[in-house]
């Protein structure tokens, strides 16, 4: 059933991306539009750009967020935790579009400011979840690990990070999905990606274009989410004892 969902999503993506298929479909769906396939850049390229934008931002945000999360949960960084929590909460209330708009005057146009804006927005949920995940590890397990002779770094790798993994992964998942959605707006500042088709559609009042861009990014987000669900299931299975209090 889960695999079936992926197959359907991939088929949808193929329909939107391959001009030979999308052309006739769009013609049937939007008979009044003059053109149906965006011709200036092909959809596959835009899709790839989109994935790179969101991917770069998410990977950078994951590395930064997890590293910062680990630092503030060490004994020396404990005092920073309230600040980090407040920042994380604050960032969740600001719409990503606003972050993007604010980034332009500072960073100009293009790919870099888009990635940076996406990164800034993504890093805080990951950081917040990393802190939460690490803090909710049972103190008895930490004591057992230290008492067994693990050094701090080893305890982090063997005990803390694996046990915090589901929560951290949930943060990365949120960040990745939001990034894919938000990356469409990157087109307004010249970053490329699927937003290009949407903007073109808005400018020319062409529903076929708008639908292609919106559908492609939505399906992309769902596909990425599908992989995260798979990963989460795997992590949870490894963790099946974690909730048992043993």
């Amino acid at each position: 059933m889960r695999l079936f969902r992926l197959v359907v999503l991939l088929l949808l993506l193929v329909v939107v991306v391959v001009p030979g298929i999308y052309g006739p479909v769009a013609q049937w769906a939007f008979p009044d539009e003059s053109s149906h396939v965006y011709a200036r850049v092909d959809m596959a390229t835009l899709l790839l750009q989109h994935l790179v934008l969101a991917g770069l931002a998410t990977v950078a945000a994951t590395i930064t967020g997890v590293a910062l999360g680990v630092l503030v949960t060490r004994p020396a960084g404990q005092s920073l935790i309230p600040l980090v929590r407040d920042l994380a909460a604050l960032a969740q209330t600001v719409p990503p579009v606003a972050v993007l708009v604010l980034a332009v005057p500072v960073l100009g146009f293009g790919t870099a400011p888009t990635v940076l804006a996406l990164f800034l927005f993504s890093v805080l949920p990951i950081l917040g979840n990393t802190v939460t995940g690490l803090q909710q590890v049972d103190p008895a397990l930490l004591e057992a690990s230290t008492g067994m002779g693990m050094r701090d770094w080893r305890r982090l790798l063997v005990t803390e990070l694996p046990l915090a993994a589901p929560v951290i992964l949930a943060g990365v998942r949120t960040a990745a999905i939001i990034s894919i959605g938000t990356a469409t707006i990157g087109a307004t500042i010249g970053a490329g990606g699927l937003g290009v088709v949407i903007i073109a559609g808005l400018v020319r009042d062409n529903m076929a274009f708008i639908t292609a861009g919106a559908l492609a990014s939505a399906v992309l987000a769902l596909i990425v989410d599908w992989f995260f669900e798979l990963a989460a299931g795997r992590v949870m299975r490894v963790q099946r004892g974690a909730t048992d209090g043993v």
Binding site: D138, A140, L141, E143, A144, S145, T146, G147, M148, G149, M150, R151, R154, V158, T159, P162, L163, V238, Q239, R240, G241, A242, D244, V246
Partner: protein
């Protein structure tokens, strides 16, 4: 050998351990016991440097603890805690093989060692090695916890209420297994409990503490028969001689049957004797010989 010299530990205003002097001999089981907050757990946790004393020194193998690197010290001291602390994301064998892994053993050797230890603690390796901690009962988890502490064959073993979180029947079985294992392995053990019967049953020496001060340090028989002060007398209770009966284990008692794998003690023998029509009953001793047991003989066996 573990030696305490004038060890004091304070938490703010409160003195948790006050000028403790004590020596735990190699190969012996020392049980720390006393009311809540008497400093027994604090004492235990200073031995593997999870806590540092404010005054005094602790020596392990004639070397002061502060001269050891804490992590390497802990690799030589097995540690069992009440909540067991098995890592839930690792299989049983991986949990047991954690310290060998820290010591850099190769994987095949770690697996082999985990199987050996499952055998030692009385769990079938075939059945248990690939389970996750959540799939174990409380008693099984405790056994795995002990196996993990023993994995790298450390000369020392610290146990913080290791049998506290299981039902009484399981606890009795675990205590008996532990005694069997200890008689074979001869580790130097420091065990914390609040259960006097457990202390009497397991200890070579009992350290009875109150408010951070060691009240009496001696064999179970000494503590029970010659308490040094009113507190010790009250702590061991007026039924202390009955508790002594538990310290003597027998091979068999006529008419007695207990839980699987458990062995009778002199207390069970007395109980049988009281309900027997004759003035004596037959019991088997641990060495396999047989003996007629009457009330006088019981008195002799309790007070050696």
């Amino acid at each position: 050998m573990i030696r305490f010299h004038g060890v004091t530990k304070r938490y703010g205003e409160k003195t948790a351990v006050d000028g403790l002097d004590m020596t735990v001999e190699n190969g012996s089981v020392c049980v720390l016991i006393g009311p809540s907050g008497c400093g027994k757990s604090t004492t235990l946790r200073m031995i593997n440097r999870l806590l540092e004393p404010d005054e005094g020194t602790i020596e392990v193998d004639d070397k002061a603890l502060r001269d050891y690197d804490p992590a390497s010290l802990r690799l030589r001291i097995g540690y069992v805690i009440q909540s067991v602390g098995l890592l839930p994301h690792m299989r049983v064998w991986q949990n047991i093989a954690l310290v060998p892994r820290l010591l850099g053993w190769e994987k095949p050797r770690r697996r082999e060692r985990a199987d050996e230890l499952l055998d030692i603690v009385g769990l079938d390796p075939e059945e248990y090695r690939d389970k996750y901690p959540a799939q174990l009962s409380g008693g099984e988890a405790q056994r795995v916890g002990v196996a993990r502490a023993l994995a790298a064959d450390p000369p020392y073993l610290l146990m913080d209420e290791p049998f506290g979180a299981v039902d009484p029947l399981t606890r009795a079985t675990l205590q008996q297994s532990f005694r069997d294992i200890q008689s074979r392995l001869k580790k130097t053990v420091v065990l914390v409990t609040h259960d006097l019967d457990e202390a009497i049953y397991l200890a070579d020496r009992i350290a009875l503490m109150r408010d951070g001060v060691l009240q009496q340090f001696g064999s179970p028989a000494e503590i029970l028969t010659s308490p040094v002060n009113e507190f010790v007398r009250e702590f061991v209770g007026s039924d202390r001689m009955l508790r002594m009966l538990n310290t003597v284990e027998l091979g068999a008692v006529d008419g007695w049957s207990g839980a699987d794998g458990s062995r009778p003690t002199l207390r069970d023998a007395l109980s049988q004797l009281l309900s027997a029509p004759e003035r004596s009953i037959r019991v088997g001793l641990n060495d396999g010989s047989q003996e007629e047991l009457d009330f006088d003989r019981i008195r002799e066996m309790v007070l050696p």
